[in-house]
C-alpha cells in the first residue's frame, strides 16, 4: 500500500516537473523570439552601421538589410506558432479557470496582438502588388515601431516590479 502511494506521488511529481520544464522551454522560446524580432526589427532602420553596433565582431549581419529582413520573418514564424499554441492551450486545457491574467498580462497581450496585426499587414504589403496607400503604410510602420517600444518599456517595468503575466486563481 505504502509502495503504491509512493509510486503515485512520484508520478505526480514527475508530471509536475515535466510541466514546469515545458513552461520553462516555452518561456525561453518566447523570450528569444521577442528578442530576435526586436533586434532584427530595429535592424530595418539604418542605425546599426551608423552607431558601430555592426562593427562588433559577429554582429556585422545586423547591417545587412536582406539578412535582418529574412531573420525577422523567420522569427515571426516561430513567434506566431508559439502564440497560437499559447492561446489555444490557455482556452482549451482548463488554464482559463485555473489561472488569472494580470493587468500587465492584459497590457502585453494587447500590445502583442497589435504587433501581430500590423506585422501581418506589413508582410502582405511586401508582396508584389498594390495593397495599401502610402499614408496607410507609413501609419502601419509607425504603429508597429511605437508598439514594440511600448512593449519594451512595459516588459522592463514588469521585470523591475516583478509583475507576472498570470497568477493562480484563488477561487480554485
Amino acid at each position: 500500500m505504502v509502495k503504491f502511494m509512493l509510486q503515485a506521488e512520484k508520478k505526480i511529481l514527475m508530471k509536475r516537473g515535466s510541466k514546469k520544464m515545458q513552461t520553462k522551454i516555452i518561456n525561453k522560446i518566447y523570450f528569444l523570439s521577442v528578442f530576435m524580432l526586436t533586434l532584427t526589427g530595429f535592424g530595418q532602420m539604418p542605425i546599426f552601421k551608423r552607431y558601430y553596433v555592426a562593427d562588433i565582431p559577429g554582429l556585422g549581419w545586423l547591417a545587412e538589410f536582406y539578412i535582418t529582413h529574412y531573420l525577422h520573418y523567420l522569427t515571426a514564424v516561430i513567434f506566431l506558432g508559439l502564440s497560437a499554441y499559447a492561446v489555444i492551450d490557455y482556452f482549451l486545457s482548463g488554464k482559463k479557470r485555473r489561472l488569472k491574467i494580470t493587468t500587465s498580462g492584459y497590457v502585453k497581450v494587447f500590445i502583442l496582438s497589435g504587433l501581430i496585426i500590423t506585422g501581418i499587414l506589413l508582410v502582405l504589403k511586401n508582396f508584389e502588388g498594390y495593397l495599401f496607400s502610402p499614408g496607410i503604410i507609413t501609419l502601419l510602420d509607425i504603429i508597429h515601431l511605437v508598439l514594440v517600444m511600448v512593449l519594451l518599456a512595459v516588459s522592463l517595468l514588469t521585470l523591475v516590479l516583478k509583475k507576472r503575466w498570470i497568477t493562480q486563481n484563488i477561487d480554485e
Binding site: 529582413h69 529574412y70 497560437a84 492551450d89 502582405l124 480554485e172
Partner: protein
C-alpha cells in the same frame, strides 16, 4: 482541474481554429499581383546615338524636384556619418546623382566583327516589386498603381537604405534637406534620397515622360507592361537581339533590347557608385516571400500542437480512470 475535452468539442473547436487561421492566410494569395496594370518602357539600344537629349530634357522637366539644401549642414554624429553634397556638382552627368536622374553609359562592342559604340540610357528600372519601396522603414517610398516607384522628399530621412537594397545603386542622397532637419539632424537621418520618378506627374496628365518625348531617335516605347514585353521579345527575335529587365529582380518596368548579349555589354560599360550594371539580378524579395508561406502555416502548426496535446492528455486521463 483540467477540463475534459469531449470528442465533439475537440472537433468543433479544432475546426473553428483551423478555419480562422486559414482564413487569415487567404489575402496572401487573394490579391492580384498588380503588374497587369503597370506601364513599362522598352529601350532599343541599337537606336540610341548617345546625343544626350533625354538627359537634358529630364533635368529641364524635373529641375523643380531637385534638392535645395540649406548650408551649413548640421554637424552629424558619430563622425563616420559623411555629408553627401552634390549641390556644387550639379553638372555631373556621367552617373546618377540627386541632380541627374538619367545618364548615358557607353560600351565599345563588336557586332558581326565590326567595332561599334553603343549608348545605353540608364535610370531607375522601376521594379515590379521594388525593394526600395517595400523595405523603406518609414513608407517614404511609394509605388503607384501604374508601377512607377517614387521617393517622397517630404517624408524621406535620407538613411539610404533604398540605395543599399537597390540591385542597381539607383537612389542617390543629398545632405542638408528634408524632414530630418526638423527632427534630430545630429543623430538621425542625413538628407533626402532622389531618383527618377518616370515623370509620374506628366503621365498623370496624359503626357509622356520627358526623356521619351525628347528622344530624336525614338529609342523608347511606352505602354502597358504585357504589350511592351511582347514587343521587346518580338524585336529581339527579329533582330537576333537580347532582352534585359523582364526577369531581373523578379521583373522590372524598364526593358532593354540589345544587339549584343548583356554579359558582354556589362563588361564594356563603366560601373560603380551611381553607375548601374547590367548583371542578371536575382529577385531580391524572393527569399523572404517564400518564408511568408511558412508564416501563415505557423499558427496552424501551433493550434494543431496545442489541440493535439490537450486531446492526448484527455485520452490519457480516460485510460487512467479505466485502469483504476
Amino acid at each position: 482541474m483540467i477540463k475534459k475535452l469531449s470528442r465533439r468539442s475537440f472537433i468543433k473547436f479544432g475546426t473553428a481554429a483551423v478555419c480562422s487561421v486559414a482564413a487569415a492566410s487567404v489575402p496572401a494569395q487573394g490579391f492580384a499581383s498588380g503588374r497587369e496594370e503597370h506601364i513599362a518602357t522598352m529601350l532599343d539600344i541599337s537606336k540610341c546615338i548617345g546625343c544626350g537629349e533625354c538627359v537634358d530634357a529630364c533635368s529641364e522637366v524635373n529641375g523643380g524636384k531637385y534638392p535645395n539644401p540649406e548650408k551649413p549642414f548640421p554637424k552629424m554624429y558619430p563622425s563616420r556619418v559623411k555629408v553627401e553634397d552634390w549641390s556644387d556638382k550639379k553638372d555631373v552627368s556621367d552617373r546618377l546623382t540627386p541632380y541627374n536622374w538619367l545618364f548615358i553609359q557607353y560600351a565599345d562592342v563588336k557586332i558581326n566583327g565590326e567595332e561599334r559604340e553603343l549608348s545605353i540610357p540608364r535610370r531607375c528600372m522601376h521594379c515590379v516589386n521594388p525593394p526600395c519601396v517595400k523595405l523603406c522603414p518609414w513608407g517614404a517610398a511609394e509605388q503607384l498603381q501604374n508601377g512607377i516607384s517614387r521617393l517622397n522628399p517630404d517624408l524621406c530621412l535620407g538613411g539610404s537604405k533604398c540605395n543599399e537594397v537597390c540591385p542597381w545603386d539607383v537612389p542617390q542622397r543629398q545632405t542638408g534637406t528634408g524632414l530630418y532637419l526638423n527632427i534630430l539632424p545630429s543623430i538621425a537621418g542625413n538628407g533626402v534620397m532622389y531618383k527618377c520618378d518616370r515623370c509620374y506627374d506628366r503621365i498623370k496628365n496624359g503626357k509622356e515622360p520627358a526623356c521619351i518625348e525628347a528622344c530624336p531617335e525614338n529609342v523608347q516605347t511606352i505602354g502597358p507592361r504585357d504589350e511592351i514585353i511582347e514587343k521587346a521579345y518580338k524585336l529581339a527575335r527579329e533582330t537576333g537581339g537580347y532582352v534585359y529587365g523582364d526577369k531581373e529582380n523578379g521583373g522590372t518596368n524598364t526593358i532593354y533590347v540589345s544587339p549584343v548579349p548583356f554579359a558582354e555589354l556589362n563588361k564594356a560599360i563603366k560601373t560603380g557608385k551611381g553607375m548601374p550594371d547590367l548583371k542578371p539580378e536575382p529577385n531580391r524579395m524572393a527569399s523572404a516571400e517564400n518564408l511568408t508561406k511558412a508564416m501563415f502555416f505557423a499558427p496552424l502548426a501551433g493550434v494543431a500542437a496545442a489541440v493535439g496535446k490537450i486531446y492526448a492528455s484527455g485520452r490519457k486521463k480516460d485510460s487512467d480512470e479505466k485502469g483504476k
